[in-house]
Structure formats: structure tokens, C-alpha cells
């Protein structure tokens, strides 16, 4: 059935969405994280009354403003894409996301418009306390504006609290709290915002390291580093534990994603975590190729991560595709059969309603409801279609984990040498530190690749594959806008780099 769809259009639409989302995500983590750091710096200034802390706060606030101004509204483009390229999906989830996203946008706009102005214009013009309050509200507002979009993303990976209405063709919300506070949504929000704090702390370390290497604004750089190191250390440790919790949830609700990002083709007891490895790109679920060119595994660690038990069984890709009776794992083929029954009965239900045969419609509706849990599988052509791109998922996951493990050590080193008073002499650390922000962005982007590529082929896990979520458009239409976005976003990125570099070069202004 999947062969009826234009895969080329789907892939271009996916590429376009990935392009816009990844460019958008170059700006967002810095906005989310830097807003908190600016609030901390501002608080220290208000507490101490020190002019040096004021200069420092104004400097980072200015860079926050540059990033915010360039990045603002880049996310709106994704909403355009939903309506144009992904109209089936948009229609089907509109009841769940439409109103909350709109309300969130309006609240965020007014919150930010009010307090942003006070934060930037308020120096010596409003009371110190109200000014500080505004800075904190900008941080709260910026981070709150990320809530519902992350809840929406979490719902797509773990669609709870909904029921499909065959009359409206919509997934309708049955329980708001189940959607908003699902463990997956809470974990997604905390992991994303805490990792953004980490990225912002790395941004400050990078620029401050550069200042120290040049011998410029030394006091400001040192003070910035101390606060950013503490902030970053706490955030990075939280990210590690929170990431582990995310993996535990993924093992439960998206076992195929876990198997893909560990390159685990055959399920194992005491499954090892690959610490280092190169994936064999020719490996497929239906061939006997070796999965890795080479790999080094830590025994039992994947089982511990997935099930909180060293000796437990972790299903591999083959178990999930073909089933495994011993461990009670239902294969994709069986789910596809039930999915096809669901689709057939949905169609028959609509036909019966059209012809006014309510009794027959009720019978088909009852059968549809029995099998609707597997609706999405009915659109797949073969069980092997349930396998996401393994090499990309594996590489992205391991890049994210490697960098995520490095960052706490880096923050600790910066803090240790700062407190010891020898940071200025550590030229190697400072030299490496200038690229930390780029590494933070790489880790952050890799995290989204893991989340989004690892869940393919699903737009909504188990219910709607991307091939059915799309609009029936020609490939050329999507290609044209893909290149337009590429140009627009590249120009914005160049503007960001250019303005940011100039402001860093100027440094903090004297009052």
C-alpha cells in the first residue's frame, strides 16, 4: 500500500522540515538557556550593586537580544509547512495541538513584548527590583513558550489521552492532563530545556575563554565563567540523568528506536552498550551482514539502561520486525494485518454511512475500534518498513552521548581552575574552550536527529506513517521552497554570526 504514495515528495518534505527545524534550533537553545544566565547575572548585580556586574549583565543581555532578534519567527515557517506539505497530519492532530499552540503563542508574545522592553529599556528608568523581575519573566516566558511544542512532539512519539474519531478523521483529546503531563512529555521538556542551559553555559565559556586568551575584559570573563561553570555543571549532570530516564522510557514505548540507536539487530540478555563502534551500512534486517565494522561494548549496560536490570532481555530490530514468541514480542507483520483490517473497516464504515445503512456502519465501526490501535501499520507495505535508518540513528546517538559525557568534566575543570585562580594560565583548556559552543550545538542537533530519525517511519507512533501524513503535492513545489528556505536561513545565520562577532569584538560598553 505504501507504494501508492510519492516517496520522493515525502522525502523532500521531510528534508525541508528537517532543514527548517535544524536551522531554527541553532537559535532556540541559546535563547532558552542564556535568558536564565542573564537573570542570574542581573540578580548578582542587584544584590551587590557592583558596576562590573552591571556591565557584564548588559553585555550578555545584548548578545541574548541579537540571538533572539535573528531567531524569532523562524519557527513559524514550520507551521506553514504543516498546512501545506503535511495537511493530512495537520487535520488529524488539529484538535489536540491547534488551540494550545495558538494560546501559547499569544501568551508568549505578550509576556515577552512586555518584559523584553522593560529588560532592555529599563536601566535607570524603572526600579531595580521591577527591572530584575522583568529579566526573570523573560526567562520564564521564553522557556514557557517551548512547553506545548515539546508536549506536541512527545505526544507524537507516545500518543496518549486521545481517541480517533472516524467521522471527523481527527485524533481528539480525551484527557488533557494525560497529554500534557505524560512522562514522555515531562522528560522531553526537562531534557530539552536543561540541555539548552548547558549550551548557553558553553556559549559563555567560549567567548570568555577567547577574552582571557586575548587578555581583554579579564575580570568580566572570569566572573562570567564562574557563574556559567556552576550553572553548566548542574545542568549537564541533570542532562545525563534525565537522558538516562529518556532512554528508559524509549525502551518501553519505542523499542525499535532504542534498538536502532544502539545498532542492536538481535535481541540479547545482558545486552551491552556500544561505547565505540562503526556501523556496517550494508547491514539490513533481512541479510546476514555483520552489524559493525568494529565495536566495543560495555556488557550489560544497555539492559540496565532499558530495564534497570543487568541480566534482562533487550529486543533487537529482528525481534521487533519478525516477532519473538519466547519473549512475547508481536512482530510487525501481525500488527500490519490488524492495521489493514482497521483501514478496511474505516472505509466500509464511511461507505455504509453514505448509503444510509446504519446497522452495517455500526458493525464496521466496532471492528475498526478493535483494531485501531494498529491503524498506522496498515499503511505499511512490508514488516521491514518499520526499521528506521540505523546508521544515522546510531551515529547521532553516540555523538550526543559522547559530548554529553564530556561537558560535565569541562565545566568542572573550568570551575576548579577558576576557584584555584589559575585559569588564565591554562592556555590549552582556554584554546579548546573557544569551540565549546559549537560542540554544544552539535550535541543538541544530534539529540533531535536521534529523536526524529529514530522514530521513522512514524509521524505519530504506530498510528500514522509520514507517507500518509503528507499532502498530495508535486515534488517540484516542495523542492522550490526547500531551496528558498536554505537561502533565507543561511542569510539569517550569516547575519547572526556577523553581528554577534562584531558585538563580541566590541565587548562590554562603558556606562
Amino acid at each position: 500500500m505504501i507504494e501508492n504514495f510519492d516517496l520522493t515528495m515525502v522525502n523532500w518534505a521531510r528534508a525541508q522540515f528537517a532543514l527548517t527545524a535544524m536551522y531554527h534550533w541553532l537559535f532556540v537553545p541559546l535563547t532558552l538557556g542564556l535568558s536564565w544566565l542573564v537573570a542570574f547575572y542581573h540578580t548578582i548585580y542587584v544584590k551587590t550593586g557592583s558596576e562590573e556586574w552591571k556591565r557584564l549583565t548588559k553585555f550578555w543581555m545584548k548578545l541574548f537580544g541579537v540571538n533572539f532578534a535573528i531567531g524569532v519567527a523562524t519557527g513559524i515557517i514550520m507551521e506553514f509547512e504543516f498546512g501545506t506539505n503535511w495537511s493530512n497530519y495537520s487535520w488529524m492532530v488539529g484538535d489536540i495541538f491547534g488551540a494550545p499552540l495558538a494560546i501559547e503563542g499569544i501568551i508568549a508574545f505578550f509576556l515577552e513584548a512586555t518584559f523584553f522592553a522593560v529588560m532592555f529599556f529599563g536601566w535607570n528608568r524603572v526600579s531595580k527590583k521591577f527591572h530584575l523581575f522583568s529579566t526573570w519573566m523573560v526567562a520564564v516566558g521564553s522557556n514557557m513558550s517551548a512547553v506545548w511544542i515539546l508536549v506536541a512532539n512527545a505526544w507524537m512519539q507516545y500518543p496518549v489521552g486521545q481517541a480517533f474519531n472516524p467521522d471527523t478523521a481527527r485524533f481528539e483529546m480525551q484527557n488533557f492532563f494525560e497529554v500534557a503531563f505524560s512522562p514522555y512529555a515531562v522528560s522531553k521538556f526537562t531534557h530539552t530545556t536543561s540541555s539548552s542551559m548547558l549550551v548557553a553555559a558553553l556559549f559563555i565559556l567560549s567567548i570568555s575563554s577567547w577574552f582571557l586568551l586575548r587578555g581583554r575584559h579579564v575580570i568580566m570573563a572570569k566572573r562570567s565563567i564562574v557563574v556559567a561553570s556552576v550553572f553548566g555543571l548542574v545542568a549537564s549532570i541533570f542532562v545525563v540523568f534525565n537522558g538516562d530516564e529518556s532512554a528508559y522510557q524509549i525502551a518501553e514505548v519505542q523499542p525499535m528506536k532504542l534498538a536502532a540507536f544502539e545498532g542492536l539487530w538481535d535481541g540479547e540478555n545482558s545486552a551491552g552498550l556500544v561505547a565505540l563502534g562503526i556501523v556496517n551500512r550494508d547491514k539490513r534486517v533481512d541479510n546476514e551482514e555483520e552489524p559493525f565494522e568494529f565495536e566495543f561494548r560495555i556488557p550489560g549496560l544497555l539492559s540496565l539502561m532499558a530495564n534497570r536490570s543487568f541480566g534482562s532481555f533487550v529486543p533487537g530490530i529482528k525481534d521487533l520486525v519478525y516477532g519473538n514468541e519466547e519473549y512475547n514480542i508481536v512482530g510487525a507483520a501481525q500488527k500490519m494485518e490488524r492495521g489493514k483490517v482497521a483501514i478496511s473497516n474505516l472505509d466500509a464504515y464511511k461507505q455504509a454511512l453514505k448509503s444510509g445503512d446504519q446497522a452495517t456502519a455500526d458493525i464496521h465501526l466496532a471492528t475498526f475500534n478493535e483494531h485501531k490501535e494498529f491503524l498506522g501499520y496498515g499503511f505499511l507495505e512490508k514488516p521491514e518498513d518499520t526499521v528506521p535508518p540505523v546508521a544515522l540513528s546510531f551515529n547521532a546517538f553516540h555523538i550526543m552521548v559522547a559530548l554529553g559525557s564530556l561537558f560535565p568534566l569541562v565545566f568542572f575543570a573550568y570551575l576548579y581552575f577558576s576557584l584555584k585562580g589559575t585559569l588564565e594560565n591554562k592556555k590549552l583548556l582556554l584554546g579548546g574552550g573557544t569551540v565549546l559552543y559549537i560542540l554544544g550545538l552539535v550535541a543538541s542537533q544530534a539529540g533531535w536527529v536521534v529523536a526524529e530519525v529514530g522514530r521513522q517511519p512514524w509521524a505519530i507512533q504506530g498510528l500514522l506513517p509520514v507517507t500518509v501524513a503528507r499532502t498530495n503535492l508535486t515534488t517540484g513545489t516542495v523542492q522550490t521552497t526547500f531551496y528558498m528556505f536554505l537561502i533565507l536561513f543561511t542569510l539569517l545565520l550569516l547575519a547572526e554570526i556577523s553581528i554577534m562577532a562584531k558585538q563580541v569584538s566590541i565587548g562590554p560598553e562603558e556606562d
Binding site: 513559524i76 495537511s87 487535520w91 529599556f121 472505509d347 464511511k350 539569517l492
Partner: protein, 90 residues
Amino acid sequence: MEQIIVKQPSLPIRIYRFYLDGFRQMTLGKTLWKIIFIKLLIIFGVLKLFFFPDFLATNFTTDKDRADYVIDQITQSVQVTNTLEKGDQL
């Protein structure tokens, strides 16, 4: 002795002046606002208007029509199979 009473402007006027003075004193901010306006113009005035119509809103007038279209889209694979089966019987 004559007492001079300075009347404070009303709250809306103070807020208006706060924003006005803030915008007047901007330096880097002016460049950033230019970028924001150009960007919004491109996004809403060009991309949204000419390249990103809302497919269902543009092509259908009622929610029922939209729902029927989407159901038709997601069940089309079954319809193709049914048509082929009927063709076989003929």
C-alpha cells in the same frame, strides 16, 4: 512662598514615553529591528502568501469536506485494492 507642584503624567503616557525613549535610544537595536521587519516581510508577505497556502483551507469550504477528503486519502489504498478485486470478478 509659592509651592510648585509637578503633576506626574498618567500611566498610559508614562508607558508610551518609556517605549518611545527606549526605541529612540537604541543603537544596535535599530539594526536588529530592520532584520526582524525584513524577515517578517519575506516570511508573511512572500512565503506564506505565494508558496505556503493552507491546502485544506484553500481547497475545501467546510470541515465536513475536509474530513471526507482526509478519510478518502487515508483509505485510498483500500479503495484501490477493492476496485481491483471488483475488476477481477468482472
